[in-house]
Amino acid sequence: MAEPHGSTASGQGAPAGAGTGGGTATASALLEVQGLTTSYGPVRALDGVSLRAEAGRITAVLGANGAGKTTLLRTISGLVRPTSGQVLLDGQDITRAPVEAMVHKGMAHVPEGRGVIAELTVDENLRVGSLFRGKVGREEFDRVYDLFPRIAERRENPAHTLSGGERQMLVIGRALLARPRVLLLDEPSLGLAPRIVAQIFGLVRQLVDSENLSVLLVEQNARSALSVADTGVVLNLGRVVVTDDARTLAADEDLRHAYLGF
């Protein structure tokens, strides 16, 4: 397979791109994935994927349908078990930790398809997100509502009455109530109008900068994702094709045509 330029990382532990904001490749990553391989029966959905996500940065995972993006997130959070490889959070091996334990460790996963619980109200959805923390002050909920005034108006409505954009706001707000240090976002732009996508990505950027959050953003919409991300990781057929600075990737016409579709 032809590899466009940029540091390739299909092997073990290749350093991530240097990044825009002066981030150094040697800084210890908050989340580190090493040689992750996941199979569905005979099909290898992930084949030795390695990447790292640092605090205060957005790492975009890009690639076509079936490249393994969703499987990557599902393996990181434990919904799917890998056949080999490791997931490290703060240097601690969490590869085999139960799914329910991930939020306790500071990792929140917003699944694909806007995982609202349709039968619960907006407010109940938020409360579920904070259940594991015990009693949570009302002001934390108010903060989420301040962030997303559109869902604040509908807090007593069942979540299935929300629009696509509102649902995405709800699930991001709900993930924030878990006070994560690492946020896994799966296709937040799916099915949303470009204006809403820009709004949500802008908000994610703002949160990353203000809370020093680390975001692993899986996206098919590579153009939008690269416009907001620091680092980009391109997946193809379960392998990492290239890991580089987001701006470098966006400027690479061959790579864009070959893998990113814009």
Binding site: I117, E124, F132
Partner: protein
């Protein structure tokens, strides 16, 4: 008019018994999307445990508490040991398992307690109140008031549990969005176990109320009730505790009118007709949230 009043009250009483049984089915359906065909024989088993307590000199109330507790334990055990391994597989697997449980538990009850039917004394008198000179409402007795009250209180308690408590919220989250709930740190497995435990306890209550109503117990004494409880649960939408109770009451009234104005032997057919009509006209039941889930 007097017959209508009598039939209506009788319908409310038997309806609340169907409602209790439907509540148990709904609790399990909500948490694990399984129709528990073993509910009847589980309730028969707990009622026999209660009978053993009464035989040993305990009061009805002690026996009731023991029945509820053994229901809790039995439900939790069955979920953990028998249901958990088939969860996540094809839905039919779990249903077949509950059918197997139904036969197995009934067999065990018959082995331990014998196949003979035994008398069961209700906690209150079953003599109807005399509303005026010469007119006694047979269906309005202290025991029927207890039956209706017990079911209503149980429904209110369950509704409050689901709506106002953290455990209730976690249970609902687990029921409606298992994977999302797990990602949010909810111990879904525990919630499913709790759902089965609660359901079996409500089933145990239904068993005690029915035993008091019909004044006997036997390994198969709950069998006819499975059909009625199931129809009541479907009528109410399988998802909502309030729906289960309303469904139970509607079914109780309808069947009692059939019994009074037509014939006793039509009861089974009438309940099947109601089931078919509900499934044709409003397949989600009267209180369904399935439309919400599809959205």
């Amino acid at each position: 008019m007097e017959q209508f009043l009598s039939l209506t009250l009788g319908g409310v009483v038997s309806g609340s018994v169907y409602a209790a049984f439907a509540l148990a089915l709904v609790l399990i359906w909500r948490s694990t999307r399984i129709v528990n065909f073993a509910q009847g024989s589980m309730a028969a088993a707990t009622t026999f445990i209660a009978v053993a307590v009464i035989d040993a000199g305990g009061s009805y109330w002690l026996a009731l508490v023991v029945a509820l507790l053994s229901g809790l334990v039995m439900g939790a055990l069955i979920e953990r040991v028998v249901i958990r391994p088939v969860e996540g597989g094809p839905e039919l697997n779990a249903v077949i398992v509950t059918l197997g449980l139904f036969v197995a538990i009934q067999g065990i009850v018959a082995l331990v307690a014998g196949v003979d039917e035994r008398a069961f004394v209700p906690p209150f008198s079953k003599v109807g109140y005399e509303v005026r000179e010469g007119f006694t409402l047979l269906s309005l007795s202290p025991n029927s008031i207890w039956t209706v009250a017990a079911v209503l209180v149980t429904m209110l308690a369950l509704t409050a549990l689901f709506r106002f408590t953290r455990v209730g919220l976690a249970m609902r989250a687990s029921a409606f969005g298992q994977e999302v709930a797990r990602l949010l740190g909810v111990r879904v497995g525990r919630m499913l176990t709790l759902g089965w435990a609660l359901a079996a306890a409500v089933g145990a209550l239904a068993g005690m109320l029915i035993a008091g109503d019909v004044s006997f117990v036997g390994p198969t004494f709950m069998d006819t009730l499975i059909v009625f409880g199931f129809v009541a649960a479907v009528l109410g939408g399988l998802d909502s505790p309030i729906g289960a109770v309303v469904g139970g009451l509607l079914l109780g009234l309808a069947l009692n009118y059939v019994r009074g104005y037509l014939d006793d032997s039509l009861l089974g057919m009438a309940s099947l007709v109601i089931l078919v009509v509900v499934l044709l006209v409003r397949p989600g039941g009267l209180f369904s949230t399935t439309a919400a889930r599809r959205a």
